[in-house]
Amino acid sequence: MISVYHYMTVAAILFTIGTYGVLTRRNAIVIFMSIELMLNSVNLTFIAMSRHLNNMDGQIFVFFVMTVAAAEAAVGLGLMIAFYRNRESIDVEDINLLKW
């Protein structure tokens, strides 16, 4: 029988993969996709826990996480296009104007 802990473990592994992607990749779009992966693993945790506790609130929260992810996608990709227009690149190593 599949318990809530199995789902939580899968979510933990996916979150770790997303963390590794954010920390290592240079391409801003891939970093963005890694962030989406992390958001999705948290969504899986929410829904597994919601079913485990017989409580609907977690699923409503997933709905709002999806809303925020959609808003983030629109603004983040707009930022990438604006940056590409200036620098001809979306490599995060080239985003260094405020670097100490």
């Binding site: 809530v4 473990t9 993969i17 990749r25 709002f64 999806m66």
Partner: protein, 167 residues
């Protein structure tokens, strides 16, 4: 049967997640991410949340991934040059392993208590998941719902302003 399905889907989800962060071409990463989203949708169906599965496929695999693929196409990104593929691998691996161990210990040792609701699986099958979600969202969570609409409006305006040629 359910156990076998769970392990197969979990394996595909983790494998696609690895494709997202390890493949050289951003398009391959995007396709791996779509695969992960579908696997998560299968999980949601197994967790008696079919409406969330449908929303997952429509919003994530449909809307957000199309947006990302459009941007990849617009910027005409080829494969990364091998030299500039990754950076800080050692410390990143260390940090990720730390995060993973932390999460697994938390999952193993954590206690779930409180917030016990009354929505059982039978109730979901009886009323329908969409109806339960709608009832909760438009009564108990009406204010967050309205705030989310303002957030979406701000995101639309922000995206238009950011991508305008003459700012």
């Amino acid at each position: 049967m359910e156990t076998i399905l769970f392990y197969i889907v979990a394996l595909i989800a983790v494998g696609s997640g690895l494709i997202v962060i390890l493949s050289r071409s951003p398009v391959n990463s995007a396709l791996g991410l779509v695969n992960t989203f579908f696997c998560l949708a299968v999980f949601y169906v197994m967790l008696y949340a079919p409406f969330m599965a449908a929303v997952q496929i429509m919003v994530y695999a449909g809307a957000i991934m199309v947006l990302i693929l459009f941007v990849i196409m617009l910027l005409n990104l080829g494969s990364d040059a091998g030299k500039r593929f990754t950076h800080g691998v050692v410390w990143a691996a260390f940090a990720s392993v730390l995060v993973l161990v932390n999460l697994l210990v938390f999952v193993k040792r954590g206690q779930v208590s409180g917030a016990q609701g009354d929505v059982t699986n039978a109730m979901v099958l009886d009323f329908g998941h969409t109806e339960l979600i709608g009832k909760a969202m438009f009564t108990e969570f009406l204010l967050p719902f309205e705030i989310a609409s303002i957030l979406l409006l701000v995101a639309i305006v922000g995206a238009v302003i950011l991508t305008k040629r003459e700012v």
